[in-house]
Amino acid sequence: MRILLVEDEKKVADIVERGLKAERFAVDVCHDGRSGYELASAFDYDLLILDLMLPEMDGTEILTRVRKKNQEVPVLILTARDAMADKVKNFESGADDYLTKPFAFAELLVRVKALLRRGPVNRGNVLRVSDLEIDRITQQVRRGGKKIDLTAKEYALLEYLATHPGRVFSRSMIIEHVWDQSFQGLTNIVDVYVRHLRSKLDDPYPVKLLRTVRGSGYTLEEAEA
């Protein structure tokens, strides 16, 4: 997996580069917009991480140009600006995710992995993880054939986690998807819901599916055989 990081702040770039390399990613780093764009167009990257405020060519510009040639490569925007209008503009230009500085590296890592493994989203009507079955049309959840009653929020949380079994979702990501921006910062709400979900989903069964990843978030994982 090869990642291009365009970030003019050298220390920030260093931290991200070190962190990603420790996770065994191949990382190319450059510190200005023009060479960033040149690298992005010369090589086939699996992911671009762009800072918005760059010398010579800003991140939005790179994004727009890259998107003209390559619709596929996932792009993660890093920025010190978080004005709503900015966010909307960049999503319209084709950004896949957006992270505001200061961010925790663990959060960045979770999002990077999510983008790299994005692959085909499971759009089927029925999601299956191990013996868990989620019917997206009737919103019914069964485990081992036995029906589990969930509240609307618990169901939304479970469905979100089940779209990508094995992937770690950070609390911020969960809040963004299951709740909305207004709940940002209220991360304990995720823990409370996960606990409730767990009591219905896992507690009665010997094999646990909903796993806490320390410092990162939660994942719904198929029990290893």
């Binding site: 920030v12 004005a83 961010f103 910062g185 606990r195």
Partner: protein, 478 residues
């Protein structure tokens, strides 16, 4: 009426001064008139005396002294005309004295003889009878034969008094009318002059921190008020600049702080994962990191506040039902409350349409509900209610929590204010309610809190309503 107002004071002073001037003028007019009329009468009498001297007495002894009396009586008919005429010799011998007047207002014989003070002409006023005054004027006439005659003519001042009374009455009647006209006119004039001041005042009252872009109306009259509004506008411009500078500074500062914070957090995060650290070092690194995260949170919220102050944070503006928003938000937070065994209940009898940034207002609700859950002990309850009142949408969120001490209550919406300063758990920064208030202010709303320590707190939010209550859609027949 406000007795301290410029208008009142100006009118009082103006009316007072004009009244005083009017009174002085009247008094002068009255006194001068009296003097002029008396003098006129006196001169007429003297003229008659001279006439008697020239036509009769100067010719004595060619005509007999005794013939003078009947001739005078014949000419002047003093009894008929209510006049007094007396001709004497210097030694006091009366040559002629008019008879009692028809009106009977005086008795000629009782009129004292004139005192010789050496002047040829004299005059005096004599009180006779009831309130009547006899004006006597006369002259000494030395005859060629060294005999001196004294001729006296007298007349009642009645006509003068009558006329003066008349004038006095008219002035007295005219006086209140004049005062009324003066006061009313003064009031009108002052009001007219002060109207621009009132306009400026009411316009200035509308201007707050949030609409410093607006300016006062300037009347292009070239007068002092134009200058006043112009200089006030200049002042608002300077205030506006200062505010914008502060906001820009706050935004720039928060912005600039983000990159170093990212580095700080990133380095610390990496360090905490370093396997070579001993437990004590690890604990310290964790503590450092949590402080760095706290710092990030403060920077984030400060930036949010500065953007709200600058009016940039409200992006979407659409109408929605406040009751529905509260209901759904409370529902989303229900589990947090249930977890602490707290119940959230609420009601809204009708839809209350408002206009604004839904997600920002939701943020306010999340903040208030989160506070309510945090500060309410287990088995407590939280109730909310949405209603209309005086064309405002009113939302109340009440809890049965620990409450807020009375001395802290006025400050809870201030930035960085914390009720319990000792318990800085790292969670609260003291900006949440300030942000909530700023969001509401940006929507033209307000928020207030009531609290009884130990019993609970109630937050009340008022927002402008979009439409007055509409009748429900026509009910179809059952």
């Amino acid at each position: 009426m406000n007795v301290g107002s410029i208008r009142f004071r100006l009118v009082v002073w103006y009316a007072g001064c004009l009244t005083l001037i009017f009174m002085i003028l009247c008094a002068l007019l009255f006194l001068n008139l009296r003097q002029f009329l008396e003098r006129d009468l006196q001169l007429a009498e003297l003229r008659r005396a001279h006439q008697v001297v020239n036509t009769l007495l100067a010719r004595v002894p060619r005509i007999s002294e005794d013939a003078v009396g009947p001739q005078v009586k014949d000419w002047y008919e003093p009894e008929l005309n209510n006049r007094f005429i007396r001709i004497l010799r210097a030694n006091g011998t009366v040559i002629y004295e008019s008879g009692p007047p028809q009106s009977g207002s005086f008795v000629p014989a009782q009129v004292p003889l004139p005192k010789n003070n050496g002047q040829t002409e004299f005059s005096e006023k004599l009180k006779v009878g009831n309130d009547k005054t006899l004006l006597i004027a006369g002259l000494y006439f030395p005859n060629k034969r060294n005999a001196t005659y004294i001729i006296e003519f007298g007349e009642l001042l009645d006509p003068v008094e009558t006329m003066l009374d008349h004038v006095f009455l008219q002035l007295t009647l005219a006086f209140p009318l004049a005062i009324f006209i003066i006061t009313a006119g003064g009031y009108w004039l002052v009001s007219r002059a002060l109207r621009p001041v009132e306009q400026i005042t009411s316009a200035a009252e509308q201007i707050t921190q949030h609409n410093l872009g607006e300016r006062l109306p300037v009347s292009q009259t070239g007068d002092e008020l134009e200058r006043l509004s112009l200089s006030l506008n200049h002042m608002i411009t300077r205030l506006d600049d200062a505010f914008q500078q502060t906001n820009r500074f706050l935004a720039d500062a928060s912005h600039e702080l983000r990159t170093p914070l990212t580095i700080l957090c990133g380095e610390l995060e990496e360090l905490t994962n370093d396997a070579r650290l001993d437990p004590k070092q690890r604990e310290r690194t964790f503590s450092l990191m949590s402080e760095a995260l706290r710092l990030s949170k403060i920077v984030e919220q400060l930036l949010m506040l500065s953007r709200l102050d600058a009016g940039e944070a409200i992006v979407e503006w659409r109408q929605f039902d406040l009751a529905e928003l509260v209901r759904s938000t409370a529902e989303q937070m229900n589990l947090l409350a249930e977890d602490k065994n707290i119940s959230i209940r609420g009601n809204a009898s009708e839809a209350v349409l408002i206009e604004g940034d839904r997600s920002r207002l939701k943020q306010v609700l999340v903040n208030l509900l989160d506070n309510a859950i945090k500060y309410t002990p287990a088995k407590g309850s939280i109730t909310w209610a949405v209603r209309r009142s005086d064309n405002r949408a009113v939302l109340e969120i009440a809890d049965t929590g620990i409450g807020i001490p009375a001395e802290a209550l006025p400050h809870i919406f201030e930035r960085f204010y914390r009720v319990d300063k000792a318990r800085s758990d790292g969670e609260s920064i003291g900006l949440g309610l300030a942000i909530a208030k700023s969001i509401l202010t940006a929507h033209g709303g307000e928020v207030e809190a009531e609290s009884t320590p130990g019993k609970g707190t109630c937050f009340r939010i008022r927002l402008p309503i979009l439409k007055p209550a509409l009748p429900l859609a026509v009910k179809t027949a059952t």
